[in-house]
Amino acid sequence: MMTGKESQNPVIVAGGGVAGLTAALDLAAAGRYVELVESAEHLGGRVSELDKIYPGDHCAFCPLWTDIRRVEDHENIRVRLTSRITAVERKPDSIRVTITTEPRYIDESLCVFCGRCREACAADAVRPSWEHASPPSFFIDKTGCTKCGDCVDQCPTGAIDIERPPVEIVLSADDIIWATGFEEVDLTPLPEFGYGTHPDIMTSLEFENWIAEAGVNQGRILRRSNGKEPRNIAFIQCAGARDRRLLPYCSGVCCMHALKQAQWIKRRAPEVGCTIFYTDLRTVGRDYFDYGLRSLRMTTGVDLVRGRPGMIRPLPGGDALALKYENTETQAVEIARFDVVILNGNLAPSQLLPGSEADSPVDLDSQGFVSAGRDGAAPFACGFSREPADIAESVLRASSSAVTLAGRKDGPEP
């Protein structure tokens, strides 16, 4: 099992979130050479965007950061940030993978994080990838950059090169472990949720960023429309999920996500009313049910209403939202007024390759989850690429994929 890294093709891990990091670390520990391809400017994936994680109620920063550091320091892992797999071609004994690396314009090995470029940038195109990202470095957002060159003059270390082109490389690889995670699906096609009609109708991830301790509001619960504290907040579960029109499956993580956010709202601003409109409250995992119970039992608890609202609209004047739903206790259709509505459940697997589905190197099911490797081989996919999964399940599946790959006798299956 332990072979020299020079004698083998690398394993490519697509995605640098928790699943990808774990898979890369495990394979590297088992002596495989790994290329970790991440499309963002930093490692960490979605978990780095979460303010708190359930059921421990703390940030995932330090274990995540530790894993990122271990990946960066590992001699068997090469990290490629701002990179995507753009093509995969199957050969008899290996696969040929094309990886395109977009420039980040600021060389992370030279950036001392002093922030002068950011001050100099009139277009506000310079930003840190994440507050505690590793490597700690700024990058230039291509879409906002006017190429004025002010930042280049300011940089004391000469780290900025705004003319750098994208780089494309082709690798012979042993196999790919897909861990590309999830994306939010646009909810505007479902008119009843009113997504996009009012700034106080947010998706749950938008809301997480909005109330994050490290975010713009420093943990305060505010309305996006007018910056005032809301009186009440509605969580709409299965918005887009378990719905034949959009996502026929259950996204798995949203019930706990809503309970977590409701609990944090109650802790920070106990007077804000929270109501969760749900179909089934799925609390599957260690301490999850207990955690949910805790938010319901808080002194001023969270209200649960079974059912999916049929209509969400801004009220005339635009300072509140009307929500029409069927009260399952009275069977009456009621209309309630909410200040903020959070839509939960529009999570779908990220597309593996930019391009048509026919290019896909693995079999995808109708929803885009990896169901099997091409030609029926074992699918090396973990995290949300494989099935809706929370953090623990993503990580478990990543290690499981890694051991399957590490234990494979010879190269990819024919």
Binding site: K52, D57, H58, C59, F61, C62, F113, E213
Partner: protein, 157 residues
């Protein structure tokens, strides 16, 4: 060895000065919060010193006592939230100990509020600033520990 008798109480004059605050910050939460405050270039009163520790578990209560004896007016111990400790539950042990130490400080008249034991996560950089500013204000309102009783260390040297 010569025995030096000092009458510390009267020698010290009660001058108004900014309080001295010592912060023991866990490297994984408190210190990262401090780091976040630094990145935002939040202006902070310069009357505090941070001692980074690997975990608040290694903040000996004796060291906190020592800090008061060495003329600190307030001590902050910043750890991770309960349940968020990377050393399993080491922070909980530390919090329990320090809670008891606060009872002792209260009993002896120093006052339990001179020792602040707080939680913070890496994401909560703004809280570091808040805590520090407010604690400074709180301590500034109190009489200086130095004027009534403290070690004779400073004077002997």
């Amino acid at each position: 060895m010569a025995v030096e008798v000092s009458n510390n109480h009267k020698q010290q004059k009660a001058t108004e000065r900014t309080p001295r605050i010592l912060v023991f910050a866990c490297k994984w939460c408190g210190l990262i919060g401090a780091d976040g405050a630094g990145r935002k270039r939040e202006p902070l009163p310069p009357n505090f010193r941070v001692i980074p520790v690997e975990c608040v578990g290694s903040v000996e209560p004796d060291a906190v006592i020592r800090a008061f004896a060495d003329g600190m007016d307030g001590v902050i111990v910043m750890g991770c939230h309960l349940g968020g400790c990377r050393f399993n539950d080491a922070n909980h042990a530390a919090f329990k100990r320090l809670e008891l130490l606060r009872a002792l400080l209260e009993g002896v008249g120093i006052g339990r509020d001179r020792l602040l034991v707080t939680f913070g996560t890496a994401h909560e950089g703004h809280q570091f600033t808040d805590v520090l500013r407010n604690f400074t204000n709180l301590i500034a309102k109190k009489e200086s520990l130095d004027t009534s009783w403290t070690s004779s260390r400073a004077r002997m040297i």
